[in-house]
Symmetry: C2
């Protein structure tokens, strides 16, 4: 398996990206194609013992930087490293692409070069949300801010494949996030989605409320990207706020190692994206994984691991099959 990595992506590129790529090549035995300025990459590679690591370089001098408008930059820089790396997937020269940002550049390249699976217009972001509910994923967590019921259903299908493949839950429960448990509770889109979900053949258990998220009442919780983005950012920020407050309260009263363990675990549980280190852009017609811009080598290696898993599990093929099946059950055209 070959994974193309944008060597110039993220806040600590190319240093941490190259380091993470070497780690992943050794740990997972994947072949890595580093895309970026050849000399700089070679300079970084020279720092490590690369024996047993199968790494090649595809040379390009252009790359995106934080702060540019991604769509504009991608039009100007046709040889940008993330674009070149994504094209390797399209051309069959790599099985997956990994980039650490700017996020808009990774998403834009994936959309331009690979496109989305039929019938879904934009990538879907989602995943585990809280360490306290490890078997619960939420979708969408960004990007799709105004959604129709059929889009929410697409997210539910994506989430079902996610839970089945990545969490190994055979028949994941699916719920709509709303303001009351009963059918008829919710905003217009949620109310309209309810019966569509009931007829979808998914394991739909109805609505869940905000207080049900930490308790893991459903495996797949569906909301639009507006609600999802606000929730995930609030959760991360509240977690950090509580950690600061708590550290102050227990400092000097508990051994330092105990304080560190409590704070680290609470941060991980409330900042899950950091813990996982990035994952696939769902609904892209190919495996494209995005890592946090502030990723260090560890997170880069973990994201490469996620990309490898996504290829091995044939996430894209499974998603297409599941979408076709649900649409056929609903007598919807498989666009």
């Amino acid at each position: 398996m070959k994974i193309a990595v944008d060597a110039m992506g993220g806040d600590y590129a190319p240093e941490e990206v190259v380091k993470g790529a070497v780690m992943a090549a050794k740990e997972y035995g994947t072949e890595i194609i580093l895309v970026g300025p050849q000399e700089r990459i070679e300079g970084e590679l020279a720092k490590y013992d690369c024996s047993g690591a199968n790494i090649e370089i595809v040379d390009t001098d252009e790359y995106l930087v934080e702060g540019e408008h991604p769509a504009y930059a991608l039009r100007q820089k046709r040889k940008a490293s993330i674009l070149v790396a994504t094209k390797l997937v399209k051309e069959g020269k790599a099985d997956a692409v990994v980039g650490a940002g700017p996020t808009g550049g990774v998403v834009g390249s994936a959309l331009q070069v690979l496109g989305t699976v039929e019938g879904i217009a934009r990538p879907v972001a989602g995943g585990a949300f809280l360490g306290f509910a490890p078997n619960t994923i939420m979708m969408d967590l960004g990007g799709n801010v105004d959604c129709r019921p059929d889009q929410l259903l697409d997210f539910a299908i994506v989430g079902t494949v996610f839970a089945r493949k990545m969490l190994n839950i055979q028949n994941p429960t699916v719920a709509l996030l709303s303001v009351g448990a009963e059918e008829g509770k919710g905003n217009e889109v949620v109310r309209e989605s309810y019966s569509l979900f009931q007829r979808s053949g998914l394991n739909f258990i109805g609505n869940v409320e905000g207080h049900d998220i930490p308790s893991g009442r459903a495996n797949v919780i569906i909301c639009d990207g507006f609600v999802g983005n606000i929730l995930v950012k609030f959760c991360e920020s509240l977690g950090k706020t509580i950690c600061r407050w708590l550290e102050d309260k227990v400092k000097g009263k508990l051994p330092e190692s105990d304080v560190k363990e409590i704070i680290d675990n609470l941060l991980l549980a409330t900042n899950v994206a950091d813990a996982i280190g990035g994952g696939p852009l769902w609904a892209v017609n190919g495996v494209a994984c995005v890592a946090h811009g502030r990723s260090q080598s560890d997170e880069i290696a973990k994201t490469i691991g996620q990309a490898k898993l996504a290829v091995e599990l044939d996430l894209v093929g499974s998603l297409k099959a599941e979408l076709a099946a649900a649409r056929s059950r609903l007598n919807m055209p498989n666009i």
Copy 2:
């Protein structure tokens, strides 16, 4: 000042309601009118030393119970205690009404009997959201699930009056809750609301994101009741989940009193509605306060205190004046 209290409202009525009313009558020196079955109320009053407490009873045998459909029940039970209590306000025999549930019954009575201030169709729920950000209130936290821009602006005006009167902030900052700081970020309603807010004469500082809520970046954060309800319930539940986890982690390692202090404070900070004990239904044309259904005497007394404050501060009059001023600035009819 006279405050009418539904003696039969809430999970622990009439026992805890009567007890809380006696506490409030003594502590705040307000006259209390307890509405409900006279004999049961007298039986409860007999348990306490009521000297110095100015309490009268308005007798009625009917009352709402949890689980009934509130609108239906209010049609059937025309002498329901909450309805009778609310009418005392309408007739000028009381200055405010307090009820502890069912919430739908308190809201329904307020709407039927007192109505809302001109131009606002439904009561607005809101208030302090997080103990970590005591000078930040959010609106709407329920009820108004699909909102137009002009409704969000009404919430912002309500919130401004709230922050000015109840938090004593002279020129409260107002923000829209969204998924990006820049104008143009957000769902359709938020994007459309932005310029309306800019022209409103309120102290509008733009969009804030989910991660800005705990940091207190704005005094008044505006969202529709769908987002608000999900956020507040998530926050309360996450707070409880973290408390359970944390108690387990530190038990036996810290003195019991320290553990209790940490857990109690963290619960209060994340479950602010419990801490405050209820407050006014905003935008009702009169002072109607709702307490949690599970309120004990303490919360009942606190809610009566909130009602007294709302009357003293003339919240309803201030809100009407502020609405008229904002509409005039925007050349909107003061309906």
